[in-house]
Each structure stands twice: as C-alpha cells, then as structure tokens.
C-alpha cells in the first residue's frame, strides 16, 4: 500500500472563529498592557518572529519547495503556497522597485480582521496584523535572508487595500550553509 511521499497529514479542523477571536483577544490584551501603539506593534512583531522561526520548518517539511533563485520567486512562494497553506488566502504580488528587492503582498481578504470594524479611537497607528509581518520576517531569517516586513497600507486604517511590504536586505552569511532558498 504505497503512499505518495507528500501526502498532507490530516488537519484536525477547528473553528476558524476561535482562532480569529484568540488573535483579537491577544491584540486587545496587548492594547491594555501597553499605551503606545509602537509598543504593541513591536510586541506583535516579536511574537510573530518567534512563530515564524518555527513555522518555516513546518512549511518546508510539508510543502517540499525547492531552492529559489530570486527574491520574486520567494515572494511568490510566500504568497501562493505559504499564505494558502496557513491562512487559506492568496495575496497578489507586486514588485515595487527596479532593483527587485522590494515587493508587496496585496491581501484582498484577511481572515484575522473578520470581526474588526475599525481601530479604536486613540489607536490609529496600531498595525492589527503585525503578527503576520513578524512571521514572515522570522521565516525568512531562518533561511538566511534578512528582510524588513511592514504594513504599507491597512484597510483598518482607512486605506483601500491591505498591503504588506517586504524589503529584502543584504544577504546574510551564507558561507557555511546552503545557498538561500
């Protein structure tokens, strides 16, 4: 009874609402704990970083993507494979500059903000989904790519779309390890 090598394990389904509510509770608690928006954003990013460093192994183990040869390939994979695998959405990718190291992911649907209408008063610079930025940053760093990931536009702040910007910085030391993903 041969089994294809890349069969996905059964994912026990849980209610997506539970996940969205948990995230919301997390952000709400952070807002209570910290007065400044920058602090909340920073902690969300840190948490996301910790998640990203671990999630990347799970992603690589299950998706069997090979080595990428360019930043645009990497961004495509993040958008089409990783986001699809973990959030069920597929953001579109655009390249922002000619030197090909700044990209944007445009999310038309973001499950994390399903129940959020608008940011509370006094929290106008809160990046609600900053966890995602941290996750992407942590994941890229584990494959030896330094990147800056921020929200360029956010529907919650009144912009028309939600846009995550990824700027790849100079490559880290890759002498000892395999070439970048």
């Amino acid at each position: 009874m041969s089994r294809p090598a890349q069969r996905r394990p059964e994912y026990h389904k849980i209610n997506k609402d539970l996940f969205v509510l948990t995230y919301g509770a997390l952000v709400a608690q952070l807002c209570k704990d910290y007065e400044k928006d920058e602090d909340v954003n920073q902690y969300l990013d840190k948490m996301g970083y910790g998640i990203g460093t671990r999630l990347v192994e799970d992603f690589l183990a299950r998706s069997c993507v090979g080595r990428c040869h360019s930043y645009s390939e990497i961004t495509d994979i993040i958008a089409q494979v990783a986001f699809k695998m973990y959030l069920g959405i597929t953001p579109s990718v655009t390249c922002n500059n000619s030197s090909k190291n700044e990209f944007s992911l445009i999310l038309d649907k973001n499950p994390l903000v399903e129940f959020v209408e608008e940011l509370p008063a006094g929290r106008s610079s809160l990046c609600y989904c900053n966890l995602l930025c941290g996750i992407i940053r942590g994941a890229l760093e584990m494959v030896h790519l330094a990147a800056d990931v921020t929200f360029l536009q956010d529907r919650l702040k009144g912009d028309s779309v939600t846009e995550i910007g990824i700027t790849f910085l100079k490559k880290q030391d890759e002498k000892k390890y395999r070439r970048k993903k």
Partner: protein, 265 residues
C-alpha cells in the same frame, strides 16, 4: 535490513538528538577461570582485549559486563578497578561479556560536529556553487544518509546498505521534528530535543516489523552548553506521545524497496 541510528545536528554542528536502534551486536559472554588467557589493557577509560582473540572475542572488544553486571568504563559496578579485580584469583571463576565498545555521548557529540565540518567542506569543494553537501556516505557495513534542510538543520540516518527508502524517511523525520519539537512552545531552537513524541508508524512493505521507540524524556529545560549536549534517552516515561521507527529485527525481508509511511490514528 535496518536503521541503525538517527542523528539530528543543528546549524552550529551541535548534536541535538540521537537515537541508536541497532540489534545487539556480536557479544560474547564466557566463563573464565584463573589465569585469564586473554591479555587486557586499559585504553581510553575502557578495558580492551589486546591479545588472545578466540571464540567470538576479538581484539579491540571491550569488557562490557562482569558476572552479569555492566561495568562502568574501567570500574566494575561496585567501584573496583576491573583489571585489579580480574588479576585476583579469588574472584574466579568469573563470567565476562565482551563486545564492541559502545560510543559514549561525548564521542557522539564529537562525531556529529566532525560530520558537520566535513559537510561544510563538502559543499565548498563542489565545482558548482550551491551544492547540497554530503548526501550519502557509503561503507560496506552501513550507509549514512544526510538531509540538510534549507534552514541548516541536518538529519542523519545510518542504515543498512541494502535499505532503501531512506530519503522519504528523512523527509518524514523532518516533518515530525517540525511538528513535535518546534511546535512545543517551550522548546528553544537549537537546543537538545527533550520531548516525547507520538508515533506515525512506519510500515515496511506493509508488514509490521518490530519497532523501536524513539522517545525522549519530556521537559523543556536543559542546562546545556550552547553547542548542545546529546542526551541518549534511557527510559521512556509513560508517554503522551511516542515516536516510533520501525526497525526490522529478526525478520528476514526479501523485499523490494520503499519504506511505507502510514499514519494510524
């Protein structure tokens, strides 16, 4: 055909997980009377046979147990020196077990870091850039398969040279590592893995063969050095998760290749 060992090496070359699962090696236990007709010598904190090879006891074999009790390096279980003990005619007749000395944890650590260096050299030697590094090391008694992930962790499996399907085994180990080590929030990356895992059972050719438990005492903390200290698991506690490798012991398989992976609920 069997899997002999599994090693997981972190990015810095430190061994973070190790499992030995080979069937008992050739060991010989015999009763001796005074005087002992083998010449024993002390080497590297072990008592080895230097001369007098016979009957399954070969030069280089170490004294593993005296009268059924495992020796502790050069000392018996009671704390007496082995050579002294065996030099005293009053202790005879004595039953001594000889066998190939087992690797200590420190030796395994050293081997892992040496392999890590060799791996790095291997990648550098490649005529083309972006080489994958050492993927297989072959000898007449075993094959070493190595899989390095894109993040730099290496999974090394030592198996019988005829055993096939190790590639899928390595991928599966990677998946399990990502599941059980990484998703544990109290596990710090690059540290030795101390988690008891759940088995996805590996079936070889559909026939269930004997399996060996790969389990690690659970606990997230460890007082270890930065490079990682290997802890060979001793006992398996009542596991909330156990990781199982199927290893063929005593079953003769004239089978074709392919490790089958089956997840049983």
């Amino acid at each position: 055909m069997a899997i002999f060992s599994v090693y997981v090496v972190n990015k810095a070359g430190g061994l973070i997980y190790q499992l030995d699962s080979y069937a008992p090696r050739a060991e010989a236990e015999k009763t001796f009377s005074y005087p002992l007709d083998l010449l024993l010598k002390l080497h590297d904190e072990r008592v080895l046979v230097a001369f007098g090879q016979r009957d399954g006891i070969r030069v280089g074999h170490a004294v593993l147990a005296i009268n059924g009790m495992d020796v502790n390096g050069r000392y018996t279980a009671d704390g007496k020196e082995v050579l002294e003990y065996l030099g005293n005619p009053a202790n005879y007749p004595v039953s001594i077990r000889f066998g190939r000395p087992r690797l200590t944890s420190n030796e395994k650590l050293m081997l892992a870091s040496m392999f890590h260096s060799l791996f790095a050299i291997g990648s550098q030697l490649s005529p083309e850039q972006g080489s994958s590094g050492i993927e297989m090391l072959e000898t007449d008694t075993f094959k070493l398969h190595c899989y390095q992930t894109l993040t730099g962790i290496k999974f090394v499996v030592l198996a019988d040279p005829r055993q096939a399907g190790i590639d899928s085994l390595l991928r599966k180990i990677y998946e399990i590592y990502s599941d059980f080590a990484l998703k544990n929030p109290f596990y710090s990356l690059e540290m030795p893995i101390r988690v008891t895992l759940l088995p996805p059972r590996l079936e070889y050719n559909g026939a269930i063969t004997a399996h060996c438990n790969l389990c690690l005492p659970g606990s997230g903390d460890s007082s270890v050095s930065a490079s990682g200290v290997a802890r060979i698991t001793a006992a398996c506690h009542h596991a909330w998760l156990i990781f199982v490798f199927l290893v063929e012991t005593g079953f003769h398989h004239v089978g074709q290749a392919g490790l089958e992976l089956l997840t049983l609920s």
